[in-house]
């Protein structure tokens, strides 16, 4: 890890920059798969699954029985853990539903807003060695709370045509009954166009590799929306002399093990923190199964020594996905958070709590998008529709205002729509 001591403000701009991601242009591949799926539907899906996942599946829909039996295939302990995490996620996300109240802006002019679940949503869960069942909970639970009518989950099968039972158990726990053994670009194409057996969706959620990311971007061109732009995961830790530097090191490593492109940053005013965290990282990383990945991520990571008053401006300029505040003066830092995805306060609050079980969502804005995007919440699964109801008394009260403004914007027919009504009630 490189250490920067009290960098000049002019250098900040460079220091907060994320490393350039070497993005391959995958648009041609994505376009080919999209066109084939649009034209040949299920047949094209089957062909791509054979080609990319190495298995020929006649029907990619996971049978109900396989879903039901998945619980028995994972340990009782893991099922209990998932159940506890689900309860916490459910509770926190349920609190995000707000009853919108009717506002009478003028006598007889009533306005209100109603949250309506997006009808058809698709959740993508990557395959690979580690089964990301936690993401099933993080996307499925708010989708259910939002009242989305059709929730479909897509995840690639292994070479035996199977899905990890932890993913199926999580889907079953949430109550998602449409799980498709389809991955990659073809999964996104199925969500965009639908097939004879798969319904198309309105919005796509979930992480994925560069192919899935490119396909999600392409989906925007077909009128779908997506959860948020993708980028490598990040953690910024703020620590002072009172922080347990073993905890700080463990938190930084938990981020570093995600991938070689993970970003880890430590901001502190204390030179001893810098030294102790470095030592603790060197020690703790040795026993990690994903040591190789973690070391690569750490090579790109930074420790920045700053004056206390510069710490929050630096953090806000960086806009981290995850922000851990582990100091004797947490309130000061918390009060000054402007840009961050999710904030973890105090020494007993590791990022992994929010990754799995505390109740907050782990689908968060990366790559500086915490400046202008929120993480996933129930809001992500609803549209808020406004309604208004004006009585004859109301149009009398507000009519002249509308007429004057419409006329000043040269929109005579807009004015007429009011005048013609006023003429019947005045």
């Amino acid at each position: 890890m490189r250490v920067f001591e009290y960098p000049d403000k002019i250098e900040w701009k460079e220091l907060i920059e994320r490393p350039e991601v070497n993005q391959q242009d995958l648009s041609e591949l994505v376009d080919t798969v999209f066109k084939n799926v649009a034209k040949n539907g299920d047949k094209a899906i089957r062909q791509y699954t054979a080609q990319f996942d190495g298995v020929d599946l006649l029907n990619p829909l996971v049978p109900e029985k396989e879903l039901e039996q998945s619980r028995e295939k994972i340990s009782k302990d893991l099922l209990d853990a998932m159940t506890q995490a689900s309860a916490n996620i459910q509770q926190f996300h349920q609190s995000q539903c707000t009853e919108e109240t009717m506002i009478e802006t003028m006598p007889g002019v009533q306005c209100y807003r109603k949250s309506q679940g997006i009808e058809n949503v698709g959740l993508y869960i990557p395959g690979g060695t580690a089964p990301l069942f936690s993401t099933v909970l993080m996307l499925g639970i708010p989708a259910k709370i939002a009242g989305c009518k059709n929730i479909s989950l897509f995840t690639p099968p292994d070479r035996n045509g199977l899905i990890n039972p932890a993913i199926l158990a999580a889907a079953e726990l949430v109550g998602i009954n449409k799980v498709y053994k389809i991955g990659g670009v073809q999964a996104i194409a199925a969500m965009v166009f639908g097939t004879n057996t798969i319904s198309k969706v309105d919005k796509i959620f979930g992480p994925g590799n560069q192919y899935v990311t490119a396909a999600k971007q392409e989906a925007l061109k077909y009128g779908l929306s997506i959860d948020m732009p993708a980028g490598p995961s990040e953690l910024l830790v703020i620590a002072d002399d009172t922080a347990n530097t073993d905890f700080v090191a463990a938190d930084m490593l938990s981020q570093a093990e995600h991938g070689a492109d993970s970003q880890v940053i430590l901001l502190t005013s204390s030179k001893s923190v810098v030294e102790n965290v470095r030592k603790a990282i060197d020690q703790q990383v040795q026993v990690l199964p994903r040591k190789g990945i973690a070391l690569k991520a750490l090579a790109n990571s930074k420790i920045v020594l700053l004056k206390k008053e510069d710490i929050m401006p630096w953090s806000n300029a960086y806009a981290p996905e995850h922000l851990i505040i582990n100091t004797a003066d947490n309130d000061y830092y918390v009060d000054n958070v402007i840009n961050a995805g999710s904030v973890f306060i105090g020494q007993y609050t590791p990022e992994s709590a929010g990754d799995y079980a505390s109740g907050t969502n782990h689908t968060l804005p990366t790559n500086g998008f915490a400046r202008n995007y929120s993480g996933v919440s129930v809001d992500s699964f609803v549209k808020k529709i406004t309604f208004q109801k004006i009585t004859s008394e109301g149009i009398k009260a507000i009519g002249k205002t509308i007429e004057l403004m419409a006329e000043a914007e040269d929109l005579q027919a807009h004015k007429n729509a009011v005048t013609i009504r006023l003429n019947t009630v005045l």
Copy 2:
């Protein structure tokens, strides 16, 4: 207007399709302007303003004095109307701010969410013959309520280098003091890159022509976000025998006058409504100053005769930006709204009320995006940041759950971040 009588459901798909917009590929032009502004800043802006708006402006920032004096340049009546509209918009949008409550998902595990205004936002207001000052209110008021720190407004100057005083008066009323006389692609480029005199923004709002729309799309590639994808304005009216067909006709014309590409649709179960609305339109359109535009829009518009039970499925499949419900059974239709931007209920509720003054926002999803996007609200100007705080008691309660899940996802360092803490408190 073409009339379709009880079309077969198989024909719906074609009927609800929006006409193909003949989109020119403007990416080369946009790219050129972006690169020039990124490199040459203010100088490039000045050059484009001279080229496209025909006026050489040394400093595009509207002086404070010009802003202050704008109120005197519009009629007292219009200023009163704007003030009334502002009060209503303020009241309705203020009600969208929700105090997020702290949720203790387990003893010692506290989670909450806080709305934080996006720091830097840019509002674009088109120029042209009609001054869209109402959009200044619709974007500026929620931005202020959200607590956005820097709000900049961009609008093209006329050939004398002036901005319509109604736009300036609206900005002044809202409290926006940075108004730039810059339009078109160069305005969006200024928001993306900033210049020596203009600060760059995080999110761009506002309508625009095809150039501005293309530039907003391009801005996404630079990490900015935008309010929503653009498309021609639309209205769908549901009317029955009890509706005053003169009102229905006036509402349809108010939409049709927006532009030749505006979409107007009438759904009804009543043949007499069809006849009477057509007659009323023919009559009312004659006196409109924008008759030519309205007639072009009407040529693309549709009246669809449907069984009552088919009306809401049709409307939801179309997902209109504006939906007027003018029947004897309004509650039934309202209860079945799934996809719509803003809904106007009852005979005295013209769309123009929401366009200007009732309190709801007029920046709404078009082109079927009401399926998966909300209109602009205070939400559009904030990020919702999650916070969590776990005590030693809390980590004892939740620790094992996190450890089990992290281990099952093969993320050992995620587990360690908990274990290392548990070891100090158990």
